[in-house]
């Protein structure tokens, strides 16, 4: 007996990967996946009448911070947010949760699914804390998850580069990804965090500055890791948080980073924070350099970006970029946490408030919007707020309205600090996103950039992660409360209400590598780590409901 069919009938379907742009179509689901329409005579066991509604694949957030030690510390550092913030009450079928800028695990899952997002990836987990991230994922309902593992300041990695041993570097990266059950490599301020650990207020100013002890440069780290990860055939080769985040004049560092990839595929994250002109520490000359950087992106198809949009309001900055946390603490005062993860990475956490009357904050907001509007190919720019750094993921509907309604965008632009107009080109852009383009930058594009072949589209074989919206003139209203959200074929949001609690799966990769490297790594652990080598890797049975995504190794 065949498994039951579920039919979503007659909606306006947006499926850019398969060239469907608002046509009325039926979608058939069986066993959690999208299947071809059955032969005539077979009827659906259940039909959802989507006539008049907009049907899209489930959203994919490729850069957020939702699990792991820094997220948990962000929650613990700000109990006042938990006390004052909205509470998600328990129901017979769902767990309770709390919001604030760093929601609890359950609230995170519920709010994502409530927005129509069905997958989310944490962007910065130290390898030593990977176990914690997996445990939090196991408590984050409704969505599929994965994380990027930090390696831009890993000592073994820098040693391999310093010794000009690319074979060892490649094997180590593959081993580390498999050992931590991670999805992709992440570089955060490559080399800069290590300099921060060596010097008071230390950091690198350029990507050609020497990193202490290992005598390597950020450029070498970027180039060599990009080469190795592309050769490993990872679905998402390298996710880069450039050096000098947030500093006036950092656009040249960003441009050099793009160049340092040497044509290899790479994703530059929260690019908004890396697009600033101006002199060192000078607010007078602070300006947008989005046009120049977007031109580079438009002409180099090995590169993709997500934006890291700033939205006005209070939030919590959390980053693996230790010196950045210190910088923010010096600027804004208040609480600050700095963590050194031995041999591997750092972490900085500080509360922050983005104000629309602040020139710097308003310009950051405008630069983010410029990125969406100046990258010509929507498949190469992805919606993100770097949750919670630029703002909450719950602000995505507001961003969609800003992109789809130029009149509204210009109204908001006129309400922020008046000097913003002269320091960026946002006021000169009249481009408005279409629903199809919104579908690309929120689900089809990030799924493709992540190499997830069964996400972000509604073709046969795709996961049945589907979001159904009621059309509305105000696109913020339309996107903030989907009518239905279907996850793996199950209706979780029904008539705008969460009806059941499921737990998604975790994506990870395990590229093949030369096992001889393990002896070198074990020796390294024996000498320097506080953790035994044999206790370090996360076993298969530790990860709940995981899915291994294939790698396709290329010849070096």
């Amino acid at each position: 007996m065949s498994k039951p069919y579920f039919k979503i009938s007659g909606g306006y379907v947006y499926d850019p990967l398969n060239g469907v742009d608002g046509q009325v179509q039926d979608i058939w689901v069986q066993d959690g996946r999208i299947v071809p329409a059955p032969v005539a005579g077979i009827r659906a066991d259940r039909t959802l009448d989507a006539a008049g509604y907009v049907v899209m694949p489930g959203g994919v957030d490729m850069h957020c911070h939702i699990a792991g030690p820094k997220v948990n510390m962000g929650r613990k550092m700000r109990p006042e947010e938990k006390r004052q913030g909205e509470v998600i009450p328990r129901t017979l079928t769902t767990h309770s949760g709390t919001l604030g800028s760093v929601p609890s695990t359950f609230a995170t899952g519920f709010k994502y699914i409530g927005l129509g997002y069905t997958s989310a990836f944490d962007a910065a987990v130290p390898p030593l804390s990977a176990r914690h991230a997996h445990e939090e994922f196991a408590d984050t309902p409704a969505i599929d998850k994965g994380f990027y593992v930090l390696m831009g300041n890993n000592h073994f990695m820098m040693k391999s580069i310093s010794e000009e041993n690319p074979k060892q570097l490649k094997a180590f990266i593959a081993w580390l990804l498999g050992a931590t059950k991670a999805y992709a490599p992440k570089l955060v301020n490559p080399g800069g965090v290590e300099v921060w650990k060596h010097h008071p207020a230390g950091n690198v100013d350029t990507i050609d500055q020497i990193v202490d002890h290992y005598e390597v440069t950020p450029r070498q780290i970027i180039s060599e890791v990009a080469r190795a990860t592309n050769e490993l055939g990872l679905p998402h080769p390298v996710h880069i948080h450039c050096n000098n985040l947030g500093m006036p004049g950092n656009w040249s560092t960003t441009l050099n980073t793009m160049d340092a990839l040497n044509g290899f595929k790479g994703h530059l994250t929260h690019i908004q924070f890396h697009s600033y002109g101006g002199g060192e520490g000078s607010e007078e000359s602070f300006c947008s350099k989005t046009t120049e950087l977007a031109d580079y992106i438009n002409t180099h198809d090995n590169l993709t970006v997500d934006v890291g949009q700033v939205m006005f309001g209070k939030t919590t900055s959390m980053t693996g970029d230790g010196p950045l946390g210190y910088f923010l603490h010096n600027v804004y005062g208040g609480k600050w946490l700095s963590v050194d993860t031995e041999m591997e990475s750092g972490c900085g956490i500080a509360p922050i408030e983005y104000r629309n009357k602040s020139l710097v904050h308003a310009l950051q907001w405008a630069i983010g919007l410029e990125w969406y509007l100046l990258v010509e190919d929507p498949w190469r720019v992805v919606m993100s707020t770097d949750h919670p750094n630029g703002g909450s993921f719950m602000a995505y509907p507001q961003i969609i309205r800003l992109l789809m309604d130029a009149t509204y965008r210009n109204d908001v632009l006129r309400s922020v600090h008046p000097d913003v107009m002269s320091r960026c080109v946002l006021g000169d852009i009249d481009r408005e996103y279409t629903l199809n383009e919104i579908c690309i930058i929120t689900r089809a594009g990030p799924a493709k950039i992540l190499g997830l072949k069964h996400k972000g589209h509604l073709g046969v074989g795709a996961d049945a992660d589907i979001t159904i919206y009621s059309p509305h003139e105000n696109k913020e209203v339309m996107f903030e409360m989907p009518r239905y959200v279907i996850k793996s074929g199950e209706i979780l949001i029904d008539e705008c209400e969460l009806k059941q609690q499921t737990f998604g799966k975790t994506f990870n990769v395990a590229p093949a590598y030369d096992v001889e490297v393990e002896a070198d790594i074990a020796d390294w652990f024996e000498q320097y780590y506080s953790v035994q080598f044999r206790n370090y890797p996360i076993s298969d049975d530790y990860v709940h409901d995981s899915e291994l995504v294939d790698c396709h190794e290329k010849e070096s």
């Binding site: 700000r78 109990p79 006042e80 947010e81 006390r83 129901t91 017979l92």
Partner: protein, 272 residues
């Protein structure tokens, strides 16, 4: 007439009475009161599923009886009237209440009068931790009102307290008046350690014979006989709190602290 609620529940899962207060029930019929929704764990049930209910609230008085140690949030956010509890009760008794009176013949669990803004809570037995405290993340705890406990209490008595009076007849645990902003705490029994840590203002008065060790960030000021203490103790006597008449005219050693947070708080140790 009094509204009688006799507990008939038989469960180890918490029962929560949020919203079951005289002011909220005053205008409801008996059947409407019986149908009020309360939580039993994560399930929403009717009040009548756990209580046998009789009488009415014409004089805004409620009386609860039975073993209520697993029943929480009794009198929380209460605005007027009185609640009398014949046995023991659970956590969060009278939390965030603004007015009215709650009396407990037995003992109460943690968070008694947490963040209360007015009214009187009178417990004849013991109370748990965080009496009159602020919840985690709150900048102020109890802010007006009176809590009287005849017996012992746990740790963090008056945590982040802002205003009001707490008097405890028995022993207390550690960290009395931790992060205290103002108000008055009086303790007649023995206690633990680290009292007044990070207090900014307010008074913590130790009436017992055994003085607790004070933090090094408290500084001796003087020995004196403050008149306000006589007024305060007589007020407690008038409220029915067991204050020996012999201690009303006592002399005290005054210490100021916490010096790491301004040093405007005071700790009084009764010496004779």
């Amino acid at each position: 007439m009094t509204l009688e609620l006799e507990y008939i529940g038989d469960t180890t899962i918490p029962v929560e009475l949020q919203g079951v207060t005289p002011c909220r029930l005053r205008d409801l019929s008996l059947s409407e009161i019986e149908g009020m929704e309360i939580y039993h764990g994560k399930e929403i049930v009717s009040l009548a599923d756990f209580f046998k209910i009789s009488g009415d609230l014409s004089d805004e008085q409620m009386r609860l009886s039975g073993d209520l140690s697993g029943v929480h949030w009794i009198g929380s956010k209460m605005e007027s009237g009185s609640i009398a509890i014949r046995g023991n009760c659970g956590r969060h008794l009278g939390s965030e209440m603004t007015s009215g009176t709650i009396t407990v013949q037995g003992s109460a669990s943690d968070w008694v009068g947490a963040e209360m803004r007015g009214g009187l809570i009178y417990i004849k037995g013991d109370a748990g931790h965080q009496v009159g405290a602020g919840y985690r993340g709150s900048s102020t705890g109890m802010n007006r009102g009176t809590i009287l406990v005849h017996g012992d209490v746990g740790n963090e008595l008056g945590l982040t307290m802002r205003r009001g009076l707490i008097a405890v007849g028995g022993k207390a645990g550690d960290l009395i008046g931790f992060n205290m902003r103002a108000g008055t705490i009086m303790l007649f029994g023995a206690s633990g350690i680290r009292h007044g840590a990070a207090m900014r203002r307010g008074s913590i008065v130790f009436m017992g014979a055994d003085h607790p060790p004070l933090l090094p960030s408290f500084k001796y000021s003087c020995r004196y006989q403050p008149e306000f203490m006589q007024l305060l103790l007589r007020n407690l006597q008038n409220l029915g709190f067991p204050v020996p008449t012999s201690v009303v005219d006592s002399t005290y050693d005054l210490h100021h602290g916490d010096m790491i947070d301004g040093g405007r708080g005071e700790v009084l140790l009764r010496v004779s």
